[in-house]
Symmetry: C2
Subunit: 113 residues, 2 copies
């Protein structure tokens, strides 16, 4: 209950939480998986394979784009989406760091759990 509580969260914690938020809806996971599977830019058929309205899918795409996880390029009247692998790499790095902290001292854990 002291001034310590003014401590803000650090950059990595904020970054990782943003990535996690981007993945926090099954539709967005499905979109990422689909983009990865077709392994090329796909355009409108994301809406086809999703049980959601076009506008809703567009919102999810925007969130993924805002998080940097996908990119969208104009290609005629369509938009060409694909995964931004640099961002995925950043996310992977942060995730690995977190998991390594969690899994590190498995051997000499004390505690009561």
């Amino acid at each position: 209950m002291s001034q310590n509580k003014k401590n803000q969260f650090n950059d990595d914690q904020i970054k990782l939480s943003r990535f996690a938020k981007a993945l926090s809806h099954p539709a967005r996971i499905a979109i990422i998986e689909h983009l990865a599977k077709v392994n090329s830019c796909i355009c409108g058929e994301i809406v086809e394979i999703m049980p959601l309205a076009q506008s809703t899918v567009s919102q999810h795409l925007k969130e993924l784009k805002d998080a940097g996880i996908i990119t969208g390029e104009i290609s005629g009247p369509k938009i060409c989406y694909c995964i931004n692998r640099e961002t995925i790499y950043d996310m992977e790095k942060l995730l690995k760091e977190l998991l390594s902290v969690i899994n590190k001292e498995n051997s000499d854990k004390k505690g009561c759990c």
Copy 2:
């Protein structure tokens, strides 16, 4: 959600999105990191290191507990929290699967991006 369409997605997508949601707030990442760092059950001091009210921290702890990421054992008037490593393992597995799908065919990617 006004309409629940989450049942249209597969189990792994839903599971992973739940884990991601659990990590989608910096406070919860900070809690996990702290629990991992001390590598033992800790009790009340989580509130001390967080810039949040006790009731808010308690809510975040509840969310992590509901996601299965941490466990809380009663230990006198205090509660003893620690990381549930089995759940972490499950999460790690799902994340690895997703990342492997994303990173798989890097070589022969076609597309325009």
